[in-house]
Assembly symmetry: C2
């Protein structure tokens, strides 16, 4: 059985939803961020980066959301979560997810995780002030250029969808009004109605 | 023929080396960062993000280094640049590349691209001061936990290798002494002796 190490309200939700959509045999294991559980030796033995998600498989441990999402899609091809037989289309899926991890998530992280990149409290506060703008610009680009609709890649639901949904959950906290992005807003609503999404969120908050 | 839009001294080098290793039919097209060419309408029509690399294919345009690298590996399977038939091993490759794009490149970017995340000049200076530490910590983790040797994934050369090499080129400018990381240092040296790497670097600087 697969084990997904997660914390609520983190990007681990994307992998969780994908496992649920795939019909995988898995269970989730909570990492308690409130007591800094991600930095304890027991967890660092699983993921030396001290981050979530981490997926424990029979072969070993996988980290990084885009890698886990592609692994789920390839391991459960019957769920049709990515265009596995078309390298160009698969690269499009991966490019979207790579943008989310390297640019969108990073812009968001400057609100709560600024100490990764700076020590000065005034600089951390200055970073936080720019988050609505930087995150807003990312979602502006997604709205204009990337989200084909009704799903990210068009008519086919893929591993891009749970990942976008997960990051779009953070917009309110980031001070970005989702109403500026009608396609993103409709996507988030559409996702929130899926059984797999409801199941995953309920399990994380239980 | 594939066209790779690049600028010298950027992460586009990783995709360039991979194309060369794969024996692909491609040419490179320079984007002039010194005149802000990446923000001109002609280039934004190719990549609305205003970044490099961008790979123009017969099917359309691809962006984001991890996606382009996996595309090259899948499109030229004879070059054996990734474990394409093993989803777990392929996910390991992708996890490494995802870490490079979302954490290592981002730490580095706080030296020259701080205005992405903050406006205050004092905060930008404070960010720059932490780059040696944050980039150093990333490479410490790579040294201890990730670089199997002689190549990143062990005995097989993969798309992880040109990407690590590319980011390791920046260590000196980031104020990090590569001698602290003997495996990374040896990897960089080993890479610099490969014909594909020499060809790609010479072409970019020509």
């Amino acid at each position: 059985m697969l084990e997904l190490f997660y914390a609520a309200h983190t990007c681990a939700l994307a992998s969780h939803i994908a496992l649920e959509e795939a019909g995988a045999d898995y269970r989730i294991v909570r990492v308690d961020f409130s007591s800094d559980g991600q930095r304890k030796p027991e967890y660092l033995a699983i993921n030396p980066k001290g981050r979530v998600p981490a997926l424990v498989t029979q072969r070993g441990i996988l980290t990084e959301t885009p890698a886990i999402l592609a692994f789920v899609a390839q391991t459960y091809p019957g769920a049709r979560l990515a265009p596995l037989d078309d390298p160009f289309a698969f690269a499009g899926v991966q490019a979207f997810n790579s943008y989310l991890c390297s640019t969108v998530h990073v812009a968001h992280a400057h609100r709560m995780r600024g100490s990764r990149w700076v020590d000065d409290p005034a600089a951390i506060a200055a970073m936080q002030r720019k988050v609505p703008q930087s995150v807003g610009e990312c979602f502006g680009l997604i709205e204009r250029e990337m989200l084909a609709g009704p799903w990210v890649m068009g008519s086919a639901y893929t591993i891009c969808d749970p990942y976008l949904f997960t990051l779009a959950q953070w917009l309110d906290g980031d001070g970005v009004d989702i109403a500026r992005f009608p396609k993103v807003r409709d996507h988030r609503q559409r996702m929130s109605e899926r059984a797999a999404v409801r199941t995953a969120i309920a399990a994380e908050l239980a």
